[in-house]
Symmetry: C2
Subunit: 334 residues, 2 copies
């Protein structure tokens, strides 16, 4: 018996090839009866998905994802995008987190080489030049998502339009009449932080509002980072009337600082977040934020990696997906 193609399965089930493909990929717009028929045929005929071509000498079906911290919805959204594509390609995903630790990165890197992974996706973490060279020598492709520093031009990378996001958030606050606008970034060395703060500064400049260095803070992306930065901002002799946070989780820290100071949002302070995570719709008040297409960034990273694994050339090594301002109830006119 020859291996059946999608076309053969579709003919036998008397449906379009696209319907078979939908069932394979778990789309829900196929009737239960049709789905059952097709799933049965796929099983009976022993259909196997085409697999990514494998470089000689590597026999695994593994792709690696390494992420600095796993414990945030932010990373999870990227992970689900990557997982979707990897699973669709019939491959498996090894997930590691390195917690900003050199030793953990080194250990991960060694195990990556040892297990003969097909390639790696790095999220908010960085390889040394030597590690990059090692990967190149072994022809192991990798893709960077939201890299720590500006990667060299030959390194494929995926990001969001962070500059435009920072610009849009600040422009929104300016349009509401705010002039004392603070910005909290993530860790200062991160490429995404720099781009957002540059967008914030550019918007202030366009509006002719002088930038005040005291109003820019940096800190971890978590709740505690936002709390600490906002507390120190609110303690200034001339505190801000609006705060642009570096993440939705930092924004909940800002919420806590404002509440502890006996003030309200947006009555006393307007707050804008960054990321557009689902929970931001349910905070008190619902959070105005800059949405990043995180799931799609994961999809793009995995697709790019699989193209590299298959030896394809990329038209562009840098892809930036669009951010979008989502206005809710945490921002108001001054």
């Amino acid at each position: 018996m020859t291996k059946p193609t999608l076309t053969a399965i579709a003919r036998e089930a008397n449906v379009a090839v696209s319907t078979v493909s939908k069932v394979l990929n778990g789309h829900t717009d196929v009737s239960a009866a049709t789905r059952r028929t097709i799933e049965q045929l796929l099983a009976e005929r022993g259909y196997q998905r085409p697999r990514a071509a494998r470089p000689a000498g590597r026999r695994t079906d593994l792709v690696d994802l390494v992420i600095n911290e796993l414990d945030s919805v932010w990373g999870l959204s990227i992970l689900t995008g990557v997982e979707e594509v990897v699973e669709e390609a019939g491959l498996s995903l090894v997930v590691s987190s390195v917690h900003n630790r050199q030793s953990a990165t080194r250990r991960w890197f060694e195990s990556l080489l040892a297990r003969g992974s097909l390639g790696a996706i790095l999220v908010l973490s960085e390889l040394t030049e030597r590690q990059r060279d090692d990967l190149a020598r072994r022809r192991m492709p990798f893709v960077v998502v939201d890299g720590v520093s500006q990667p060299p031009p030959e390194v494929p990378s995926i990001g969001a339009t962070n500059f435009a996001g920072g610009y849009a958030a600040t422009e929104h606050l300016l349009a509401l009449g705010h002039r004392r606008i603070a910005a909290i970034g993530g860790p200062e060395q991160l490429q995404c932080t720099r781009a957002r703060i540059a967008g914030y500064r550019a918007a202030l400049e366009t509006a002719g509002v002088p930038a005040d260095r005291q109003l820019v803070r940096f800190g971890p992306f978590q709740h505690e980072g936002g709390l600490a930065a906002a507390q120190s901002l609110l303690a200034l002799p001339s505190p801000p009337t609006a705060i642009f946070a570096g993440s939705d989780q930092q924004a909940t820290g800002v919420y806590e600082a404002v509440r502890r100071a006996g003030m309200t949002i947006p009555g006393n302070i307007s707050v804008v977040g960054f990321d557009g995570l689902p929970f931001a719709e349910w905070t008190a008040p619902p959070l105005t934020t800059v949405r990043q297409p995180l799931h799609e960034m994961g999809v793009a990273a995995a697709r790019t990696l699989l193209r590299l694994v298959n030896g394809e050339r990329l038209e562009s090594t840098r892809i930036e997906l669009a951010t979008a301002l989502v206005v809710r109830e945490s921002t108001a006119a001054l």
Copy 2:
């Protein structure tokens, strides 16, 4: 040169063995200078973590985690617990999601066998009896977290005290004077759903409040599940005055239904969630919820799996970690 032990490294660094262990495991309560000294010694002396013993014929350093849906903070919390232990053991973690699809589970299962994983952790997903037999024949251990159905006694499983959690949530609402108390479960067939609803019923019974079948609903754990169930509950001729949701995400759906109905929480309706995810502290109003120790459940699952990989015997195949009621502002006296 013989391989150095932790004790040797500790002696050389003039610190306690526990300090070296802290540095190895990334704990932060070690001074930067001490950390540097120890990290340098570990690198120079070529310290290698003891690895899990491997069954003959399997040479990988892989452990598998399969989870029904990856796209929730719930699953993420379990994942971080598993990852922590797996990384500490010098192993790597393959992560898959199967979206309730038989075909995806089958594909995952085949790749698990093909890649010679050391063992697998299954979260909210289920193997067929035949798949379980296959694993046993290949001596591949597995551990179930929050299984779909009551696993056979010989299958090691980790859960939370769901019955006690459902009881505590309902008791809290009863103490506030509520009598029309609704419960929304996750999917009805799930073991955790059944235990929670049983706890809810037991608390009603203890209080002498007759159970009303109309007040019990089931649905997906996501926001939409809570929204749909709450909308239908609020449309009852005699609607509930309190709703115990099956997850914090369902609770945000209940929030939306209440808001759409022009009512307020807890003014018109009290709401209790389940899970105790970080965002539940920042909802409007902050959510009263039953905390599950999800990260710890992941840790326990991974530790149990590694013991099985090492051929150890378990004292008990079932571990249940305690849930705890966290009272915030979404519940009030009737």
